[in-house]
């Protein structure tokens, strides 16, 4: 059965207006509440980020204390590295003359002998050149001097390059005719040793 409302229509309008106002007030409170919840949520995120940072800072402080406690042990390594560096500096451009002279004796042509040898290490003014050697020698004839130059310039003699003969002159030893010559060459980095690497004890 259909309900019959005998109240004047103004009453119904007033009720409707009150209901809308109530809804609006409720919505406004809900809206402000949501904004407040949002602020609280973001405050929580800030606090969480700050806690993370504090925790990380605490870990780092603990590790720094450990580093400080272990700091003295690094001194011995620093000392080792400093002394090793001194040895490397002292052996910069070091030539193993024993090996050089041994190679020279091994590669000497059969009809040539050396009477004087002079070798000097000097500062590396030209890249790859670390010194100079000079010889005076004797051969039986001029081709022997050529053989001497070829021997010095051969690949087997890595430490010497640029051989040159400045004078060759005929002479006599006893009853045999000979040629005497003066020769020079430069020492290359091939003659340098790696003695520093050998002498510096390796600590794995």
């Amino acid at each position: 059965m259909r309900p019959i409302n005998l109240l004047p229509p103004e009453v119904a309008q007033e009720r409707g207006r009150r209901r809308r106002v109530a809804i609006a007030v409720f919505a406004a409170f809900a809206y402000v509440f949501l904004l407040g919840v949002g602020v609280l949520y973001w405050n929580g995120r800030v606090d969480a980020a700050r806690d993370d940072l504090d925790a990380q800072t605490s870990i780092n402080q603990s590790l720094e204390r450990e580093v400080t406690e272990l700091g003295n042990t690094a001194d011995v390594r620093t000392q080792y590295e400093a002394k090793a560096e001194l040895v490397r500096g002292a052996l910069a451009i070091d030539v193993d003359w024993g090996i050089l002279l041994n190679d020279l004796a091994r590669l000497l042509p059969p009809r040539v002998w050396v009477e004087t040898f002079n070798g000097t290490v000097s500062a590396e003014s030209i890249p790859g050149v670390i010194g100079q050697v000079s010889f005076s020698g004797v051969g039986f004839d001029f081709p022997d001097v050529s053989a001497w130059l070829r021997a010095l310039d051969s690949d087997q003699f890595a430490g010497i390059t640029g051989p040159w003969v400045s004078t060759v002159s005929q002479g006599i030893i006893g009853v045999d005719g000979v040629v005497t010559f003066s020769s020079t060459a430069v020492l290359t980095t091939g003659a340098a040793t790696d003695r520093a690497d050998t002498l510096i004890p390796e600590v794995p």
């Binding site: 949002g38 011995v76 080792y80 040898f117």
Partner: protein
């Protein structure tokens, strides 16, 4: 009614925007800053952990490092120890069969490379056969003390009995960390002919004897 709804909607949008810009954005900025600082701190933690591992490794190998430093000290001693060197060279000459004729050590001088090294230039004259001299040169390289040979001059001569003998002139360098004598630094402001004396390179080394006066 519709106009009111539009105004309300606009008001809500404005309030939300204000809420975002005035309340949330500063917090987001703080979070970003804190996260950046945390990332930096995490990097620092990694670096510290690597450093600790290295230091622990050094601590575990401390004995080996001390032994190595001892060997390096023997190569370049704190004091000139010329007496030991002369004995060692004499023994080497006897072992290799060469005749040690002269040995001329100079006093320690500062290294030209600007390091704390002091160099002792030594000239030596020996005589012997080729392989004896070779043995002597190899022996110098193998000495417990660091000896570097800068120059070798050989000349052959024939003895009365017909044997060939080589005479070798060797320029060597030893190294140490101390001057022989302490260098007395001039008093502050001392000048000679209007020029201030520079004593920077003439400071005594760690092993110099302070009681010996020149």
């Amino acid at each position: 009614m519709r106009r009111v709804a539009i105004f309300v909607l606009l008001g809500v949008l404005l309030a939300t925007a204000a809420w975002w810009f005035f309340l949330i954005s500063p917090r987001n900025a703080s979070i970003a800053d804190l996260q950046d600082e945390t990332f930096v701190a995490v990097d620092t933690e990694q670096r510290l952990r690597v450093q600790i591992r290295q230091l622990q490794d050094i601590r575990d190998r401390e004995v080996e490092y001390i032994a190595a430093v001892g060997q390096l000290d023997a190569l370049i001693p704190d004091r000139p120890l010329l007496e030991d060197f002369i004995e060692q060279v004499y023994a080497l000459a006897n072992d290799t069969g060469v005749e040690l004729q002269t040995l001329s050590p100079s006093v320690p001088a500062a290294s030209t490379d600007g390091s704390e090294l002091r160099e002792i230039a030594v000239s030596g004259q020996i005589e012997g056969e080729f392989f004896e001299i070779l043995g002597f040169l190899f022996g110098l390289s193998d000495m417990e003390r660091l000896v570097r040979v800068d120059s070798v001059a050989l000349s052959a001569s024939t003895e009365e009995d017909g044997t060939t003998v080589l005479s070798a002139s060797i320029e060597m360098r030893l190294f140490t960390l101390a001057d022989l004598l302490p260098i007395v630094a001039p008093t502050t402001g001392e000048e000679t002919d209007g020029e201030t004396t520079n004593t920077t390179a003439a400071e005594p080394g760690p092993g110099a004897n302070p009681e010996v006066e020149p």
